[in-house]
Symmetry: C2
Subunit: 114 residues, 2 copies
């Protein structure tokens, strides 16, 4: 269910905003690796979104906007081969440690809106 | 179109992540005012998303995840009565200035994914 108690298809809707800064010159490599992660993650049954975004003022900064149906779906994502491949591929390109922020959903509350 | 050149319905897809910190005790007031803004903004033809999110570790911190079809749609949003009402209503509840980050979309690139 949502933070406000409204029901959604199974579990608790969870949003992660993951902030990434890559070292100069690795922007395009990061984009390609993350697009592959996007495509595979969107096929997971518990994943609702995996938006890959590049900061308009700082092209070396990215945000991944990930939405999952439940804590279990997040755990399942972390156990996939595509997540492990992405994590290992991008590891040397990080200019600083990734920073993940976890959010509860206030709106929208309709499951169909995700 | 999208940052990668793929076409989408009119204009350039734009994401804003707006970070808000409210003064203690105003969390629920902010949520109610922002839900009204969410509902009205989602009726704008150029708006694709307006997710209202509360930080799971710090309930006084919020993120608004706003997606628009074009620069023109962002401008139109800023001219609506519901935006002005929200801005004026929440003004005294801010613990610090709002911080907006503008992003280009890398993925998804299908218009139907928004």
């Amino acid at each position: 269910m949502f933070a406000n108690g409204a029901p959604c298809k199974g579990g608790v809707m969870i949003v992660y905003a993951v902030h990434v800064k890559v070292i100069p010159g690795r922007e395009q490599d990061f984009i390609e690796a993350t697009k592959r992660n996007h495509e595979n993650t969107r096929l997971e049954p518990g994943n609702f979104r995996f938006d890959v975004l590049q900061n308009a003022e700082d092209p070396a900064s990215f945000m991944l906007y990930e939405v999952y149906e439940s804590v279990e779906a997040v755990t399942a994502h972390k156990e996939t081969p595509h997540y492990a491949a992405w994590r290992d591929t991008v590891a040397d390109w990080m200019a600083e440690p990734r920073r993940g922020e976890k959010y509860d959903v206030i709106a929208p509350t309709k499951g169909s809106a995700w």
